[in-house]
Symmetry: C2
Subunit: 318 residues, 2 copies
Amino acid sequence: MSRRAEPQVADLVARARGGEPRAVARLISLVEDASPWLRDVMAALAPHTGHAQVVGITGSPGVGKSTTTNALVRELRAAGKRVGVLAVDPSSPFSGGALLGDRVRMADHALDPDVFIRSMASRGHLGGLAWTTPQALRVLDAAGFDVVVIETVGVGQSEVEIAALADTTLVLLAPGMGDGIQAAKAGILEIGDVYVVNKADRDGASAVSRDLRGMLALADRREGAWQPPIVKTVAQDGTGLDEVAEAIGRHHAWLAETGELRRRRARRAREEIEAIALEELRRRWGSVGSVERLDALADAVADGRRDPYAAADELLDG
Amino acid sequence: MSRRAEPQVADLVARARGGEPRAVARLISLVEDASPWLRDVMAALAPHTGHAQVVGITGSPGVGKSTTTNALVRELRAAGKRVGVLAVDPSSPFSGGALLGDRVRMADHALDPDVFIRSMASRGHLGGLAWTTPQALRVLDAAGFDVVVIETVGVGQSEVEIAALADTTLVLLAPGMGDGIQAAKAGILEIGDVYVVNKADRDGASAVSRDLRGMLALADRREGAWQPPIVKTVAQDGTGLDEVAEAIGRHHAWLAETGELRRRRARRAREEIEAIALEELRRRWGSVGSVERLDALADAVADGRRDPYAAADELLDG
């Protein structure tokens, strides 16, 4: 760990906490680039974390996630909250960033110093959100944003990961996007704290809402469990977003009252520690010396001279 | 490792190698359930692996992956090959299996003892295909299938993972599914060994093919590198599938001649060893004693008393 790094990191953190967007952006870049100063950054941020309310927004392509995020940010700003947005794009494992990205998304809030929006490509061996997003969230949390919205397309693991990361998960649906079987298949019934049926002015919105209500009623919930509300919206013109914000607030109060907020955050921290530890191991395995050993084991497995479990044991213990 | 398990595992492996589908299915279930006998299973399979040709098929929802897989299986069967199919459904992290699943897919080949089809939900902390699919592949390989087709929807990490797993990766496109930017964004230009433009009887198929050819021409390829062909198909009626099978065969011959097959398989083994080692660590961390330690670290991180990197170091070294 470089001594020289410290003054700059301390300065960046102080400026980020003072509300300077460029310092926030720089800290997130240090996270994304897995900078050698990352550990210093995280150590400096830690005492200031744990205050932001984390809202996840997920849904299939085309349901209106970006529009809804935009409208929600407007609603939260009207309530005087500082809002950070992380738009995670899991379809972009290679590019290191969304193609359209921040400039399109920023348009509505570009001049508002109390809104910070960042597009992130999800990547890394651990897949999906696991690696950089929780760290970027930590930056925004320490920088004093009251609410951090994490938006991701609901495909593959990403929607599960967003639910693990968020205090409150919004699942977006829209008419014409798929039938009940698809909804159940996508596992959305397990992860939503608030369901939003967007494009509610279109044909079929009531049917989506009704089917969803039926499926949620069948879901097995413990006594005293949160009953996820279903809110109809037209994000394009802001209709219903006040109700969404109200539902998020109600869920947050419920989390705090029941101790569930504390449990969710401890679980999030636990997963974060595990992910970092696993990544650190990969790094160690990739170091000179270790690489040769791993290559020799891989050759043995490829030749059928050893099975991969025996090889893994050797790697760990041997 | 249980001594008692051995006779049953040896028997199962022998029966699977003898072509008994129920024994193959049971071995894959042992993999999926992370059975305590898994290590015995893998040790028993290892000497028989390394012969199957692994073909990955990926593409966006709606391009006709299942239909193409079905038609390809028919083509391969006509050439006398025994074929295993793993249909991976990354949209189903919770269910432990696709809702529609095997019965729909099986229809065409239900009575053919030389075709084995299995739907798998992708899941596990390591995300996507990483955990169970390579092991299931190992089962089919050892059971003597000449070709194993792994089909997955191309979203998030799954298409990258399938490319890592397969000897030959087929990327499916179809007219009306998205423009050039989307194709580039999805990273498909990096992973395809054979490109298939399905639904070639529809408007726009030639444009898709032409755009793709243009983008592939721009891609930076080393001298002597494989030039991915573009094949037009109508999977519904089998048109063009002979060309697809021919392209797969040509690519396989190229892989073998250049030594690239050996390199790909060693890389696959390496990733498999790493994934198993990481999962084993997670298991150790989840054991009695370790859980309490990890929970204490998670509490400290959630409270801001420690940063997650320091906590990860303690978990690994402390």
